[in-house]
């Protein structure tokens, strides 16, 4: 019991004297806060991107592509194959219509707002009337739905925010084609918000696709009917397809970009972490050195060595926690919800998304900062404990 009260007493003394050592303490706090800012903000990019991709895919929908295709862009079907696919068991049906849509995926070349020289690849998806019923998460936020059979299009709100001529009433020119924007839609932050949607049949004509499509998206009867559906199609010799749950497809699409950001994010944060640990060691060393007489006095008075060690560690943990909190807050204020866009490496097209500073990231950042504080305090604490009392008292 005694050493606990001792420890608390010493720790209180330490913490109360921090203001006297403000300069060197702030070095450690600022160093650790910096690391946490980088860590949290860079990983919030990855979290935002992966989040956008994740909310795009539903478990209860299946995406059918040609065998070997790694993205919607590289897939392709004839009309006959589409008809076979739509007859497969396991698809939810609404009266006579199967809730399955054959879609087209082409790329538009659009300019960013305020940057007429730029050129960005934006997906233009050809949809069927049933496409909207497949996707519950999609709803119009402005204008109206496109009329099938015309050259009207609706634009995702992410795309509309970023690219020129994509507001309601604008026209998008692409080669010889002209698309009239009649509506803006949202899709729970998913990838669809970065797309432009038009009538699949009109697109087939405009892009000389004949009666061909790229993918079929099907709403499953239940999540569990996926296997029935898949087995029927893969064993059917009339079609040459691969079937994935939509959620799995988008998870796969986000993998490369997420890996890229995480590799760099973790790499940089790791290096900075080492730097911050050295910084914390310097700070705590200075703290111990400047108070070696005090510490020696305490020990001469009979304070337990462990109390001294723990109090030094406690101080450096407190500095770490302070740094972690400041860093996490700064990252949250500065980057949460920040709108950005990047490339989906599989389709080379743009995906708009918002940075997400998630609670998990903040907690990881805080744990990281505590670890830095702990490691930084360890060596100086041992040093403080091993300080020979007599010579330390004589010092200065």
């Amino acid at each position: 019991m005694r050493w606990i009260t001792q420890t608390i007493a010493v720790m209180a003394l330490n913490l109360r004297t921090i203001p006297a050592r403000l300069g060197s303490s702030s070095v450690a706090v600022v160093g650790i806060a910096g690391v946490v800012v980088v860590f949290v903000s860079v990983l919030s990019i990855a979290a935002g991107f992966a989040g956008a991709m994740r909310s795009s895919g539903s478990e209860s929908r299946a995406l059918i592509m040609r065998t070997g295709a790694d993205s919607e862009m590289t897939s392709g079907f004839g009309g006959a194959e589409v008809d076979v696919i739509k007859q497969a068991p396991g698809i939810r049906r609404d009266g006579q219509t199967a809730l399955a849509a054959a879609e087209l995926y082409v790329i538009l070349d659009l300019q960013r707002k305020g940057d007429p020289d730029s050129s960005s690849n934006v997906p233009l998806r050809g949809i069927e009337p049933v496409s909207m019923r497949l996707r519950d998460e999609v709803s119009l936020v402005a204008g109206r739905m496109l009329e099938f059979g015309t050259n009207e299009v609706i634009v995702g709100q992410g795309a509309s925010r970023q690219f020129a001529d994509t507001g309601v009433g604008d026209t998008i020119r692409s080669g010889k084609n002209v698309w009239n924007v009649v509506g803006i839609f949202e899709a729970d932050g998913g990838v669809a918000e970065s797309e432009v949607w038009g009538d699949a049949r009109t697109l087939q004509g405009a892009y000389q696709r004949g009666n061909s499509y790229q993918t079929v998206l099907a709403r499953l009867e239940t999540t569990a009917s996926f296997d029935t559906f898949k087995n029927w199609l893969t064993s059917n010799p009339q079609v040459n397809v691969q079937i994935r749950r939509e959620s799995e497809y988008y998870a796969g699409q986000s993998q490369q970009m997420t890996t890229l950001i995480q590799t760099i994010g973790y790499g940089i944060a790791f290096l900075m972490g080492i730097g911050a640990i050295f910084g914390a060691i310097l700070t705590m060393y200075t703290a111990v050195a400047s108070r070696s007489r005090e510490i020696a006095t305490l020990r001469a008075l009979g304070f337990n060595t462990w109390s001294v060690v723990i109090s030094v560690l406690g101080e450096s943990l407190a500095l770490g926690a302070l740094g972690g909190t400041i860093g996490g807050l700064a990252a949250y204020v500065g980057f949460n919800g920040y709108q950005a866009s990047t490339m989906n490496w599989q389709t080379f097209s743009q995906v708009a998304f918002a940075f997400r500073v998630t609670p998990e990231l903040l907690i990881t950042g805080l744990v990281y900062s505590l670890a830095m504080g702990l490691l930084g305090g360890l060596l100086p604490a041992i040093r403080a404990a091993r300080l020979p009392i007599s010579s330390a008292l004589r010092e200065l």
Binding site: V30, G34, G68, D109, S120, N121, G175, L260
Partner: protein, 383 residues
């Protein structure tokens, strides 16, 4: 020179602190080196993008194909030195996450258009002799531990082989290399073999690279080329390779810029921390400096002593850090093929050394000048 032992003693008067200051500086410069490589990787080689090369794409978008026949028309235009086409293959080697650029090209014309790709005559001959031959960048060879002569199966995503199935097989005929900023991760196979063996779309190619006589006329030439194919079945959009690379980098987007910006801010913060620690180490010794002045040391000498001391700490720590960064970067692209140009060019190394000298000056100058200006009596009294 005679002061060296004095400086040496001063550096090590508090070993623990000096060592850790050096370590902080080391990590800062390690980070600096890595950041420079990341920054460069996100520009995707814009520095070596040829000013005399134009890229001609389908006007509607990069997915649309262009007729092979455009080549003759391009080559007959005045001001055009060379025109050659490339077709994106986009296949998968073993695992979908193994990303690298695979393209069907015309071997001789391609290498004429890209003189920065260095190939030995033997490898070139081997490539010309083997229709299934492929020329592979040295970085890509290293990444998968490939050997010349090895057979590489690639699964088609867009271009299925005529013979059925999904797999194309290529033989590594040779390798190419190039400077730091050249993408050495490409997988280049022969268009003639590809065109004969793909199912459909014969005579259709991805885009053209046009080498022009006079880079100053790039804008003019681009317009002339687009006019040439206006109102044809496939209209074109032509721009310099530089603009093309720039637009690609822009699409990958703010991400690279933001990451580098945040990290740079923190790096500077780290350098300031190191500088402040070093400054404090010297301030502690104001009275000692006053003693030196009493002994007759000139102001300039004291300034020099202090500066040399801080320089020593920074250069040793920073030099080791930059060395480590260089070693890490030699390991190549850490992201499985997405940042093909991952290098630390001499220019950035020089910038790093410049930064070290600046840091050394910053850390040493303030306290040294302060000490110089102090009146001896005041300084001695202060302790």
């Amino acid at each position: 020179m005679k002061y060296l032992p004095l400086i040496w003693k001063n550096v090590w008067r508090r070993k623990f602190r000096t060592v850790f200051t050096m370590l902080v500086v080391m990590v800062a410069f390690l980070l600096f080196g890595v950041l420079m490589a990341v920054r460069m990787a996100f520009t995707f080689g814009i520095e070596v993008a040829g000013v005399d090369r134009l890229m001609m794409l389908h006007k509607v978008g990069f997915l649309m194909l262009l007729p092979e026949a455009y080549k003759t028309q391009l080559q007959s235009m005045p001001g055009v030195q060379l025109a050659t086409h490339q077709t994106w293959f986009g296949g998968i080697y073993q695992d979908p996450t193994n990303f690298f650029a695979q393209m069907a090209v015309e071997p001789e014309a391609y290498l004429k258009a890209y003189p920065e790709f260095k190939v030995t005559p033997e490898h070139m001959k081997a490539w010309m002799d083997d229709r299934r031959g492929v020329l592979v960048g040295v970085d890509l060879m290293k990444r998968f531990n490939w050997q010349v002569g090895q057979r590489i199966p690639i699964n088609a995503t867009i271009w299925q082989p005529r013979g059925g199935g999904l797999t194309w097989e290529f033989n590594i005929a040779g390798t190419y290399t190039g400077e730091d900023a050249v993408d050495k991760t490409q997988f280049l196979f022969r268009y003639d073999y590809f065109d004969e063996n793909r199912r459909g779309a014969q005579g259709q190619v991805g885009w053209y690279v046009v080498k022009i006589d006079d880079p100053a006329k790039a804008a003019e030439m681009s317009r002339a080329i687009d006019n040439q194919f206006a109102n044809s079945s496939a209209e074109t959009k032509t721009a310099t390779e530089k603009q093309f690379v720039q637009s690609f980098a822009k699409q990958v987007g703010d991400i690279g810029t933001i990451m580098v910006a945040i990290a740079t801010a923190v790096l500077f913060n780290m350098l300031l921390v190191a500088a402040s620690t070093m400054t404090r180490a010297i301030r502690e010794r104001t009275s000692e400096l006053a003693v030196l002045k009493t002994l007759g040391f000139a102001n300039g000498t004291i300034l020099g002593l202090v500066l040399l001391e801080s320089m020593f700490v920074v250069l040793v720590g920073g030099g080791i850090g930059l060395g480590f960064a260089w070693l890490i970067v030699q390991g190549g692209d850490p992201t499985n093929g997405m940042l093909p140009i991952f290098a630390l060019p001499p220019r950035d190394l020089a910038l790093g050394v410049g930064l070290m000298i600046a840091l050394g000056l910053l850390a040493g100058l303030l306290p040294a000048v302060g000490a110089m200006r102090l009146r001896i009596t005041d300084a001695l009294r202060r302790s």
